[in-house]
């Protein structure tokens, strides 16, 4: 389900809850309002009944018939009110009590009417009349009290319900947002992770992500993985084109390098022909053996170059750093011969092996060597220092030249793709590709330079930690 759908559903549920609460509140306030009207009526009724009882009292005190007339007059008014407000009173009292009230009132008024019209008071009139009057006021008071309690309860219930509802809405909000945060943050964390991996050059791992998109963030993750796959493809192309650019530079040196063995073969052949008559059998054999050695030398030069040019899948192998450095130096040895650059190499003994894609690291080193040689058109010293920081687990390769140096502004950009200080001679890819390769190996590449003095590149490549050794070390620690 898309995030948009989820948010809409959550909003609908929330709106529904608020609607229910509002309807409930409206109904309950309506009931309270009508109850209050009933209380008003009953209160009026109660006051009128008390007035009647006052007149009744006057009659018994002063035997004044006018007082009884007042009783009847007011009683009729009350009856009217009782009739007209039957609905409200019925709601409050129920039909049974309503009937009792009605019967008692009419009996009471009947008795009074009889005394007024006959002028005589029947036996037990006082007792009966008072009892009826008392019963009437008692009923109305009970009624009033009940209604007031009822309204009180209703108001209290409403307040309680309101608090409960608000808490429910609050809780719902909390749960919904918690859910969204959890859900979105989880997906964002995956994305963040992938972006970080990509920035560390681990495009392959990002490209491995397979996800069937269920929401917008999944779409983004999938796009990220697609992008990584595309970048990986392009990176391979870039790697190869950069290698071919280096190769172009190497070839001029190789052409010269081939000159020596070719000259040797030529000399041997010419010597063989001109000295044929005086050469012994053993010497003739030696001549041919020497020629074979020289052809092997040519094959080796060409194979070295082919090896370097070939595009291979990344393949990590355990390798002695010394061998790797020597092989890279061999590749540029011809460049060194045709320029006035002197090579000085210092390789620490007992270097730990590294676990790398050897051709790729060779490519980086060749690139740094070529850059250094090109930075010294008038000649200079190229120093290669190889050591290790065992405690940090890094092999350190320093490539130092005494060339032109790089300006401070250019230093900021030298690892950027297509940035070059060599004008049309450079592709601007060498260092950017080197940077990518070293980052892929979890290493680091840094540069220091001073204009007119020279440049030093420092490579850090993790020392190989075989898994079994790590496990052994852990086992040792736990004992």
């Amino acid at each position: 389900m898309t995030i948009r759908m989820r948010i809409i559903i959550a909003a609908i549920i929330q709106a529904a809850i608020i609607c229910v609460i509002s309807i409930f509140g409206y109904l309950s306030f309506n009931t309270i309002l009508s109850k209050l009207r009933t209380i008003e009526i009953i209160d009026d009724l109660n006051i009128s009944l008390l007035e009647i009882r006052k007149s009744e009292k006057n009659y018994f005190l002063y035997s004044d018939v006018n007082a009884l007339k007042e009783v009847v007059g007011r009683g009729k008014e009350i009856d009217k009110v009782v009739q007209s407000s039957k609905k409200e009173i019925l709601k409050g009292l129920g039909p049974k009590t309503y009937n009792v009230l009605g019967t008692n009132l009419s009996k009471y008024l009947e008795l009074a009417q009889k005394v007024i019209s006959t002028g005589k008071t029947p036996p037990h009139f006082g007792e009966e009349f008072r009892t009826l009057g008392h019963e009437l006021t008692r009923l109305s008071e009970v009624l009033l009290k009940r209604e007031r309690t009822d309204v009180n309860n209703r108001i209290q219930n409403s307040i309680f319900m309101l608090i409960i509802s608000l808490s429910a809405v609050f809780l719902f909000q909390l749960v919904v947002w918690q859910y969204f945060f959890h859900f979105i943050i989880k997906e964002l964390a995956i994305m963040g992770n992938l972006i970080q991996m990509a920035s560390q050059g681990k495009l392959h791992e990002v490209a491995k992500q397979t996800i069937s998109p269920k929401n917008e963030l999944d779409d983004a993750i999938k796009a990220l993985a697609d992008m990584a796959r595309e970048l990986e493809k392009r990176e391979a192309v870039l790697l190869q084109s950069e290698k071919l650019a280096s190769l172009g530079i190497l070839i001029s040196g190789v052409a010269h390098e081939l000159g020596n063995p070719l000259n040797n073969i030529s000399l041997m052949a010419q010597g063989y022909l001109s000295l044929y008559d005086i050469l012994g059998d053993g010497e003739k054999k030696n001549f041919m053996a020497d020629i074979l050695t020289q052809t092997d030398r040519i094959s080796r030069i060409i194979n070295n170059l082919l090896d370097f040019s070939r595009q291979k899948k990344q393949e990590l192998i355990e390798i002695e750093p010394g061998n790797l450095i020597e092989k890279s130096i061999t590749l540029v040895s011809n460049q060194l011969k045709i320029t006035n650059v002197k090579l000085h190499k210092y390789i620490e003994p007992d270097l730990r092996p590294i676990y790398v894609d050897a051709p790729q690291i060779e490519q980086v080193l060749v690139n740094l060597f070529i850059n250094a040689i090109q930075a010294m058109p008038e000649g200079g010293d190229l120093t290669v220092n190889v050591g290790q920081e065992v405690e940090n687990g890094y092999l350190i390769i320093k490539v130092k030249d005494t060339g032109l140096g790089i300006s401070k502004e250019d230093l900021l950009h030298i690892f950027d793709p297509f940035f070059t200080t060599k004008g049309t001679k450079g592709t601007g890819l060498g260092l950017s590709v080197s940077y990518g390769i070293i980052r892929q190996h979890h290493g680091d590449i840094a540069v220091e330079s001073e204009e007119g003095k020279g440049t030093t590149f420092t490579l850090k490549i993790p020392i190989y930690q075989p898994k079994e050794k790590e496990e052994d070390a852990q086992a040792d620690r736990s004992h």
């Binding site: 020596n260 000259n263 030529s266 000399l267 010419q270 000295l275 005086i278 011969k337």
Partner: protein, 120 residues
Amino acid sequence: MPKQIVVIDDEKIVCNMVQRILTQEGYEVETFTDSTQALNRIREKEFDLVITDLKMENIDGMDILKEVNQLYPEAKVIMLTAYATLDAAIDAIRERIFDFFPKPVKIEELKKSVKKALGS
């Protein structure tokens, strides 16, 4: 007395072959694959002809040429090189070179050049 020739090239085969051919022609030939040792020898003994490679480790052919010119103005120098560039040839001519051979070297031409250099 036979003419004295020294051959300097870090390729052993070149030294051996040139020595053989020129010995055959009646010259006395010494060879060195290490240019430093060769220069030391030149300083203690005068040769009529120096045949040297241009590009070598440590001391290169141009250094040897300059030193020979300074020590023995009568001596001749022939240079061989696999790294034949016009610049290198011009530099060598300026330093009074007798002949300049790009590798691969033709033995007959080298023989002719040696003969010419030694005036025999």
